[in-house]
């Protein structure tokens, strides 16, 4: 069975929408104004949303469906003077209707256009130094929480970037272990640089608490220490 994303299908049926959107987007990135608004409570934060329907599965799908997708994927390496968090944060600035109507690599393209402009790569041969990715090695030392501790997810309302999904805000879970140490994503998104590492915990939540009594699963997420508090 071969299906495609309904959003892509809808877009193909409505080429006028794309014509309206594209010139506005293009002129904005040419003018150097990278984003016209900030905010993170976006449509990208999809966990638990209703209404999307059956998961479309394409059997034996190719790595790239069209040649331009592979070229966009490969161009990611050109915008090295940034962080993965700023890349994600840029995608999160897409207007919701555009996000929903865009395929995966269209969202990449949208972000790479803006980050290339931000780094001056479309107008100059000068290239800002690439941002080095931190090592995945764990930092030594103990954190605020221990395995088995109950923790509450802070209400991460921000106009910046957060990796706390909405469906976990203010819920209480149990720390399972330290997952890794990583620079704070909000800071990395704002600055395009990686700061000092912070402990990240794997926290387990009761599915029924999150989504109602019919949900009998356990949900885990990896949350930064600064996103957690004692209940």
């Amino acid at each position: 069975m071969t299906t495609t994303n309904p959003a892509e299908k809808a877009l193909k049926g409505q080429p006028a929408d794309r014509r309206v959107l594209a010139p506005r987007v293009a002129s904005r990135h040419r003018s150097g104004a990278v984003w016209d608004h900030l905010g993170v409570d976006g449509v990208h934060d999809m966990g638990g949303m209703h209404g999307f329907g059956r998961v479309p599965v394409e059997v034996d799908e190719p790595l790239f469906h069209e040649p331009w997708e592979g070229r966009v994927w490969a161009m990611w390496s050109a915008i090295g003077a940034t962080t993965v968090d700023r890349f994600r944060f840029t995608i999160e600035q897409m207007p919701p209707a555009t996000y929903l109507a865009s395929g995966y690599y269209e969202r990449w393209l949208w972000a790479i256009e803006r980050l290339a402009a931000e780094q001056g790569l479309l107008t100059s041969s000068d290239r800002p130094p690439a941002t080095a990715r931190p090592s995945p090695a764990l930092v030594a030392g103990e954190g605020w929480f221990r395995p088995g501790d109950s923790v509450r997810v802070r209400n991460a309302v921000t106009e910046g970037h957060t990796r706390v999904p909405r469906y976990l805000r203010l819920h209480i879970g149990q720390v399972e272990r330290i997952a890794c140490a990583w620079p704070n994503p909000g800071d990395s998104a704002a600055t395009g640089r990686y700061g000092p590492p912070e402990l990240v915990y794997t926290v387990a939540f009761d599915g029924g608490d999150l989504f109602g009594p019919h949900a009998d699963h356990t949900l885990t997420a990896d949350l930064a220490e600064s996103d957690l508090e004692q209940p």
């Binding site: 999809m46 638990g48 069209e66 331009w68 592979g70 994927w73 989504f211």
Partner: protein, 203 residues
Amino acid sequence: MTETTPAERAASLERELHEHGHVDPEAIDASIAEAESAEGNYPSPALGARVVARAWLDPQFRQGLLTNAVETLSEYVPQGVPISVLENTPKVHHVIVCTLCSCYPSGLLGNPPTWYKSFEYRSRVVREPRAVLAEFGLEIEPDVALRVHDSTAEQRYLVLPLRPAGTEGWDEGRLATVVTRNSMIGTGRPLAPGAGNGRQPDA
């Protein structure tokens, strides 16, 4: 001239980046070709299948995967981000997702399939995982604990599926032929012996 399609916008972006010396179109061709052929230890479902097959045969390797996957996998691929291996048992089934974007064990399995990045999967599998897995043909018994892992940080996950019955005495190469990509994400099981034709299924 107004650019309207993603293909035109991508071409325009590449042209401008190339004019200023920031990309080399031939290097882009080469990266795409390398990813599409995915030979040797290039990240791909086939590479993941080799790791799983070895874990089924080699208890020490399996233990290393479960306790220190980054180091244990370093002989296959350098891990730019931490990775952790989740072992399925007769009583626990793991499934992975990234609700916020598309985080996936790409360092081992390559780029994720489109369905993994779909709005449908991202929205629903955290809320109604049994229903979603049933759509994949995977019925999880009520007495099996289901654990859904939302990849919200830089930690990546690989599911180590249960070895299917009927594969006793198989070597690593033969075992790898039953390990599907979906079985390493948690939306499938390895193929039953005899069901496959030796081809690596993607879905």
